[in-house]
């Protein structure tokens, strides 16, 4: 018999399942390095990296936007690579290095990208900003002299409802130009 994927079960059922009585997740010991500091944390396995960052480590910069991986406001770096903390299990970060927006500073100074966002007025409500900076910082490390189109493509996973993106793109481009 063919295995129907989980999603085809949804098509079949079309509704949410009630809570299973008495269910509790197993607990795992976790060692994870966040912004250069290693933490030993006991966590239930059904918790997300986002919950670990906010609830266990009280780092409030990472934002809870859509919980679906679309908006990008939860974006952090794991081993230097941008991922959605809302869709990452905490236990999958065992032994890994995580960088949140709080870890973007260099030697107590704002990251050049953070300064550029200030200089260009690229922040309005600020909700998208941490995720935007994380994504842009990782992008610039891979492409230090991008075209505007490349910047816009790199940030398609970070939604902003305030700025219309123009000043954000300008801020990222301003760092590229310095290398020309």
């Amino acid at each position: 018999m063919n295995r129907r994927t989980a999603t085809s079960e949804i098509e079949a059922r079309g509704m949410r399942l009630p809570r299973r009585k008495g269910a509790a997740s197993m607990i795992r010991e976790l060692s994870v390095t966040v912004n250069g500091v290693t933490h030993e944390i006991n966590t239930r396995v059904n918790r997300t990296l986002f919950q670990l960052i906010k609830e266990d480590l009280h780092l409030v910069g990472t934002k809870d936007g859509c919980r679906q991986g679309v908006c990008g406001s939860c974006t952090v770096l794991v081993e230097g690579v941008p991922v959605r903390s809302c869709l990452t299990l905490a236990v999958r970060c065992e032994g890994k290095h995580v960088t949140t927006i709080e870890g973007l500073k260099e030697n107590g100074q704002l990251h050049p990208l953070q300064q550029a966002f200030i200089d260009e007025g690229a922040v309005q409500c600020g909700f998208c900003t941490p995720g935007m900076l994380i994504s842009a910082a990782a992008f610039l490390r891979e492409n230090s002299n991008p075209t505007e189109e490349e910047v816009r493509e790199a940030l398609i996973g970070n939604l902003c409802r305030c700025t219309g993106y123009a000043r954000i793109v300008r801020a990222v481009m301003s760092l590229g130009n310095e290398n020309r």
């Binding site: 018999m1 063919n2 295995r3 129907r4 994927t5 989980a6 999603t7 085809s8 079960e9 949804i10 098509e11 059922r13 949410r16 399942l17 809570r19 299973r20 269910a23 509790a24 997740s25 197993m26 795992r28 239930r44 396995v45 059904n46 918790r47 997300t48 919950q51 609830e55 809870d64 919980r67 679906q68 991986g69 679309v70 990008g72 974006t75 690579v81 941008p82 991922v83 959605r84 809302c86 869709l87 990452t88 299990l89 236990v91 999958r92 994504s135 990782a138 992008f139 493509e153 790199a154 398609i156 996973g157 970070n158």
Partner: protein
């Protein structure tokens, strides 16, 4: 405050146990032990969404993250791509860019950078999503899925793999371990386009992937057209292909082929466009891509 957040079903996930097998055989044994109470997790994107929305409630999540055999890309005649290879890895793989640039193009249009860093090719293919960005390219490349179950290994041509809405040919205890892509014939030209109407990282209105092999006289020796987001499953427009195969590609014939490709679709009407619109866009983009392919 945090207690209220904990009880909000959309932050928390339902309870489950978590197993991390080290080998494919261990994973298959776990599937055998737990059956319908277990779900495999590859990149995690799909499973996390389903868990969060309480659309599934497995007792056990079986993570494939530590199975080394599911990683790796090698090109030895054909391309072998481990199922847990992330889309972002495929985009930057030099050996894959040399052999099967069409797949690299397709992987480069999956979601957004963070999504590509998390999602895997095998996880995505085994979903059987009709809106898959990569499946049309894999179909156009004549790829095979390699599945391993209690009875051993099985090769499944992708042309027969996608059977119904989110339903693939994978059996209950099988795990997709790799994708095999034959090296395209010398001189093959490929084109990929994901047409989105809402935003760049959204699902497509239509995705078109074409491989075209020219004969010495410039006519069409072989052609494969993969289409996504315009049917319950990813499809190949085989009747459209048959019109062009062996023929000289005149503008009139290309227009016929494009119309035949559109006729092969059965698009949904949803946020990415109405069925009529997507059928018409299939015709437009197949025509445009074929015209680009045929002109030297």
């Amino acid at each position: 405050m945090s207690e209220a957040i904990e009880k909000d079903p959309r932050v928390s996930l339902p309870a489950f146990d978590y197993r991390v097998p080290q080998t494919v055989d261990e994973a298959i044994a776990l599937l055998g032990e737990y059956g319908d109470d277990a779900i495999l997790m590859a990149g995690g994107l799909t499973v996390m969404l389903l868990l969060r929305e309480r659309l599934i409630q497995p007792r056990v999540v079986i993570s494939l993250s530590n199975i080394g055999a599911l990683n790796g890309v090698d090109v030895n005649g054909d391309c072998r791509i481990g199922a847990m290879t992330r889309h972002s890895d495929i985009v930057v793989s030099r050996v894959l860019r040399e052999s099967v640039p069409l797949l690299c193009d397709a992987c480069g249009r999956v979601g957004s950078p963070a999504i590509r860093n998390m999602g895997t090719l095998g996880g995505s293919v085994s979903q059987g999503d009709g809106a898959s960005d990569t499946a049309p390219a894999l179909l156009a490349l004549n790829a095979e899925a390699v599945a391993v179950g209690p009875d051993g290994e099985r090769r499944i041509p992708l042309s027969g793999f996608f059977q119904d809405v989110f339903t693939t040919a994978l059996l209950d205890q099988e795990i997709l371990t790799s994708l095999r892509v034959p090296t395209p014939a010398y001189g093959t030209r490929t084109k990929f386009f994901k047409y989105t109407c809402t935003s760049a990282e959204a699902f497509a209105a239509v995705t078109v992937a074409i491989t075209f092999v020219p004969s010495e006289d410039g006519s069409c020796k072989d052609i494969r057209i993969g289409l996504g987001s315009v049917a319950p499953t990813p499809i190949r427009a085989t009747q459209a292909e048959d019109l062009l195969r062996g023929q000289k590609a005149t503008p009139e014939l290309i227009a016929e082929v494009a119309a035949a490709a559109a006729a092969a679709t059965d698009p949904p009407s949803d946020g990415q466009g109405s069925a009529d619109y997507r059928r018409e866009m299939t015709r437009v983009w197949v025509r445009r891509l074929l015209e680009e392919t045929v002109i030297n």
